[in-house]
């Protein structure tokens, strides 16, 4: 009996070990490679997404993770130059950068340098390049008679359709100006809820009227066809401010002068949309299978979305119909030395396929990056110390373990700003009185932003001296650029004013030692936030301590995000923390956050602090329509002085993005405005394959140790069993 059991155990162990050895010998491929064997050595970029994009319809999408996909597929008329700084526009499908011509209220032409008050309309004449074609798509497929194959799908046809790839035929057609016109009309569609519709009604002539017409038509169609999403042919309804001139030209008329409008033209909101696509996707059978325009884009760009399983992965593949584009021939000084012009003049894109995998948790994502299964990675707080170290001069560098792997670090100050906002309608911290102003200035000194960046952002940020981030016109470096109400210029760098200065300001505001001089009561302020989790607790304790430094008590009113937003919207918050990410590289896109008519309360604008200074407003209106130049800079400086003095915000910081990429990933230069940068990137699959093998050899010894330990644990039991059975048999025999 004993022998039989021992043999069995030995047999199983040998079988397991043999199995493992067999697996090892299979193909020499790392066992932990998550990708299919057929993709080994392919020109594929691997990236991740932690949350599925909500929208991939360019008229609805307004979030960076959606743009990461969309911008590779849809092509607006202009784009940002990949290498040149400051950010500048370059043509994409347009023949030239659109320039406005001005008209007076009688539609008569005006000279370009005319006073802004005379300009009633700006007209943008846009011409697109001929010969650009859409990606292959079933929406364009036609039969022998020239009719669309899939615009009237029968139940039988639908029964075999689960994804776009199930359509046997695809087609394409040339991009025409009418597609751009169609997309602008979609901004007003009541079903689509475009986030910029409200903004654009202020500019595009006739857009509001067009929306009203569409609303009526849409409502009627819903009554007529209640069982399906109604389709409206937007080509049949004219929009006064947007006209198709001919096959390759169209015209946009906006109200007054708005030089920033051209930046909007670089965003997916103004990308072309073929009407066939909308008609195709609105068929009820496809909607039921989640095959919609919001999930499967149709564009002319270098890539097309061939697989969109938001629960698993999204795959972009090279668009065979891409019109072709060349890598930039020139860049900034230093770009050539950095190897960024090595591919100058070569046809784009370089990468054949991009796979975005769903990774909800940071730990697996980070480890897969270290194993070479992701080509790029951000750095979370958890892995920061593993990846980054700071030199004596405070410069961030890679740790030795990262350098050994050939990993590179990329840093860039974001075109975003974080701030603490004071509700200017609050009786205590708000208002235009000297008392309130000094209170706000005292708080601005007390909140040690440098300490915040060091503790909570791992040094990833630079203290903000105003609302305009570096790289945007209007930002000033050096002594001229500091906020003199919070900083002194000492030894060639800004130094935060002392707490004594803050206390003096507080005393001048009538709160000496943190007590109201009139009532003797301690000064109690409220910080409204929606920050859950343990990290938030540490931050909120830190913030409380900042106020304690000037003997002010801070009460944290932590709530859920909905309530927090509601408080800011209704103006019942007192102090809050907020941020803004630039839509386009113009100071107007930051300064408008403090423009009076954009107040959150009543006007529901983006001015959450409800700041409304007549001087600032006047300067803003003047600055808004100006071209970049010395005159504009003077006005911006005046505006910044007003802001710094009034302190409706405590300027917190401009975040600094840190990201890592492997040695096989090339042509990497941060471009915070452009989203369509994938086409410029290059990878070396051979090197990646070699490194993956090197880094991921299976380690079998621990497994064998575990098996042996388990056997040793089982052995006493087996022996006891044998003894027990033996004893029992003997007793039976007796």
């Amino acid at each position: 009996m004993s022998g039989t059991l021992t043999n069995r155990v030995f047999g199983w162990t040998s079988f397991t070990a043999f199995g493992l050895l067999l697996l090892t010998a299979c193909d020499g491929r790392p066992w932990n490679n998550p990708y299919p064997l057929k993709d080994d050595g392919s020109n594929i970029l691997y990236s991740e997404f932690s949350e599925r994009p909500k929208h991939l319809d360019p008229v609805r999408s307004y979030v960076s993770n959606e743009y990461e996909i969309l911008a590779q597929i849809y092509e607006p008329v202009v784009q940002y130059h990949y290498l040149k700084r400051p950010y500048q526009l370059a043509t994409l499908t347009a023949t030239d950068i659109p320039q406005p011509r001005y008209l007076d209220s009688n539609q008569q032409p005006l000279p370009p340098d005319v006073d802004v008050s005379q300009i009633a309309y700006s007209v943008y004449d846009i011409e697109i390049k001929p010969g650009i074609r859409y990606q292959p798509h079933p929406a364009f497929a036609r039969d022998e008679q020239g009719r669309f194959r899939y615009h009237q799908l029968s139940d039988e046809q639908l029964s075999n359709i689960y994804t776009l790839a199930d359509f046997a035929h695809t087609g394409s057609r040339e991009l025409v100006a009418a597609d751009y016109v169609y997309q602008i009309k979609r901004l007003a569609h009541p079903r689509l809820h475009s986030p910029i519709f409200g903004v654009m009604t202020d500019y595009i002539v006739g857009l509001q009227d067009y929306a009203d017409t569409l609303q009526k038509t849409h409502a009627q169609r819903k009554v007529d066809t209640p069982d399906r999403t109604p389709y409206i042919d937007l080509h049949k309804l004219d929009l006064a401010g947007v006209k198709e001139v001919d096959k390759y030209r169209y015209q946009i008329t906006i109200k007054g002068k708005y030089p920033q409008f051209v930046y909007w033209l670089a965003m997916p909101f103004f990308a072309p949309m073929p009407a066939e696509a909308e008609r195709f996707y609105l068929q009820p059978g496809l909607v039921e299978k989640n095959i919609t325009l919001d999930w499967f884009p149709v564009g002319t760009g270098p890539y097309m979305l061939t697989e969109n399983n938001p629960n698993l992965k999204m795959v972009l593949q090279r668009n065979p119909n891409f019109h072709g584009e060349l890598y930039p021939q020139e860049g900034d000084p230093g770009d050539r030395e950095a190897g960024l012009l090595r591919d100058a003049g070569k046809p784009l894109p370089f990468i054949d396929k991009v796979v975005y995998n769903l990774e909800k948790e940071l730990i697996p994502y980070w480890n897969k990056f270290l194993q070479g299964y992701y080509d790029i990675s951000s750095i979370s707080s958890d892995s920061f110390d593993q990846a980054i170290q700071f030199t004596g001069e405070g410069e961030a560098t890679l740790t030795d373990s990262m350098r050994e792997k050939g990993i590179n670090l990329l840093t860039a100050v974001q075109t975003s700003v974080w701030f603490y906002g004071f509700n200017m309608q609050d009786k205590l911290v708000g208002g235009d009185s000297e008392r309130a102003r000094k209170l706000r200035q005292a708080i601005a000194i007390a909140i040690d932003i440098e300490e915040f960046i060091s503790i909570f952002a791992n040094g990833r940020g630079i203290p903000a001296q105003g609302p305009i981030p570096p790289g945007i016109f209007g930002h000033t470096e050096g002594e001229q650029g500091i906020n003199p109400y919070v900083y002194n210029w000492v030894d060639g760098r800004p130094q935060r004013k002392s707490i004594a200065d803050a206390k003096r300001l507080l005393a001048e505001a009538g709160y000496a030692n943190g007590r109201d001089e009139k009532t003797g009561k301690p000064l109690l302020l409220y910080f409204d936030t929606a920050m859950p989790g343990p990290d938030a607790k540490a931050f909120l304790n830190w913030l409380r301590k900042q106020f304690q430094k000037i003997n002010v008590q801070l009460v944290i009113r932590n709530t859920d995000f909905n309530r927090f937003q509601e408080k800011v919207r209704k103006g019942t918050a007192q102090i809050f923390r907020w941020g803004w990410n630039a839509d386009y590289p113009d100071p107007e896109n930051f300064l408008f956050l403090l423009y009076g008519p954009n107040k959150k309360v009543l006007n529901n604008g983006e001015n959450g602090a409800n700041y409304d200074s007549p001087v600032f407003n006047r300067l803003f209106e003047q600055m808004k329509t100006m071209e970049n130049g010395p005159q504009r800079k003077v006005i911006i400086d005046q505006m910044l002085e007003v802001l710094r003095r009034d302190s409706p915000w405590v300027f917190s910081h401009f975040p600094k993005g840190f990201s890592l990429y492997h040695s096989w990933y090339a042509n990497v230069k941060p471009n915070l405005m452009a989203n369509n940068t994938l086409k410029y990137k290059r990878i070396e699959p051979g090197l990646r394959e070699q490194k993956r093998h090197e880094w991921n050899q299976p380690v079998l010894l621990p497994l064998l140790v575990i098996v042996v330990v388990l056997l040793l644990m089982i052995l006493p039991g087996v022996l006891t069993y044998i003894r027990k059975e033996h004893h029992s048999n003997n007793r039976s025999a007796v």
Binding site: Y62, P190, E288, L312, K368, Q565, L703, S728
Partner: protein, 325 residues
């Protein structure tokens, strides 16, 4: 038995209405339709007009449960609650608030959940019952005591620890399998090994102790003594007689969870990037998508009720003495 099942199904209707009502009240106690609209429309440049249009488009512009302005039956039917609830009973889950077909999403996502949950349940059951049998066999010996102590230790460790520890050892350190991910078909196998192993190990502590208790209770009964007296070996006694008679309490625990295997596990799915229904529900809560939340709660309730009915039926299969009336 048929009458019993019909009665149980009929009982389920008021339960489901109640669950649906509670879900509705809890959800809208935290989120207003305005909040939902703002969540879906994004944070930048959202106008009140856009919020109103969003609500109107999705039927969230009506009163919640009672419509004062309507007449007759419409006071109840022309409401968000009625509109969003009644179709559920025909298993028409409708569209999510961002326009996706929920039934289609569920049909896609239940398979990955099941791919992890089913092997974890079956392998776990096999391992736990075997270990519990061994502990019962070696009852009151040092092996039993060590097993019980180890069981308590294993029970006391958080499932998160098993996941992170498993990923660290098996994938990061030893490079034996992918750390996370999922694929369809046969390619899914390599992604399932680690979560299943972790799921099984994580359940050994509680499972083994539970089954050990059941077996020990059986082992002292008269029929076991009789079996031994007949001269059967201890292994035969345990695996042939004790196991069979212990099936009722085992079934109670197992059959009831079978339908719920479709619902998935939140933590496991998140850490292993498995596109199952657990993460679907949590994503919906985070995105304030009421349509998905109510559909998933409803589905969960239905499956739980089915599980309970199945448990009752399974009693009759393993114990002929039990009759459902």
């Amino acid at each position: 038995m048929m009458a019993y099942i019909i009665r149980r199904v009929l009982y389920a209707i008021p339960i489901l209405i109640g669950v649906n009502l509670i879900t509705f009240v809890l959800f809208f106690f935290v989120n207003t339709p305005d909040d939902m609209a703002r969540m879906h429309l994004g944070e930048k440049r959202v106008t009140q007009e856009a919020v109103e249009k969003w609500k109107e488009e999705r039927g969230y512009d009506r009163p919640m449960i009672y419509n004062n302005e309507a007449d007759g039956i419409k006071t109840l039917t022309d409401t968000i609650f009625f509109d969003k609830s009644v179709k559920l009973f025909a298993f028409d889950f409708g569209q999510s608030d961002d326009g996706r077909n929920i039934a289609h999403d569920i049909s896609q996502r239940m398979w990955p959940s099941l791919a992890i949950a089913l092997p974890t349940l079956l392998v776990g059951l096999l391992v736990n019952i075997t270990l519990a049998m061994l502990l019962a066999f070696f009852r009151a010996t040092y092996i039993d005591i060590t097993g019980v102590v180890l069981g308590v230790v294993l029970m006391s460790i958080s499932s998160l620890f098993y996941i992170i520890g498993g990923q660290f050892l098996m994938s990061k350190l030893w490079h034996l399998m992918p750390i996370s991910g999922y694929d369809t078909g046969i390619d899914a196998f390599k992604f399932l090994i680690l979560p299943v192993i972790i799921g099984v190990i994580g359940g050994i502590g509680s499972g083994t102790r539970w089954y050990r208790t059941i077996f020990l209770e059986e082992i002292n009964k008269d029929y076991v003594r009789t079996s031994r007296a007949k001269g059967l070996s201890e292994l035969k006694v345990l695996f042939k007689h004790v196991l069979k008679n212990a099936m009722i309490p085992i079934l109670t625990g197992v059959v009831v969870v079978i339908p719920l295997l479709f619902i998935g596990s939140l933590v496991t799915e998140a850490f292993f990037a498995i596109p199952g229904l657990g993460s679907y529900t949590i994503d919906a809560i985070n995105h304030q998508d009421f349509s998905i939340v109510r559909a998933m709660v409803f589905l969960g309730s239905v499956l739980y009720i089915i599980g309970l009915i199945m448990t009752d039926i399974s009693y009759t299969l393993v114990d002929p003495r039990i009759r459902l009336e």
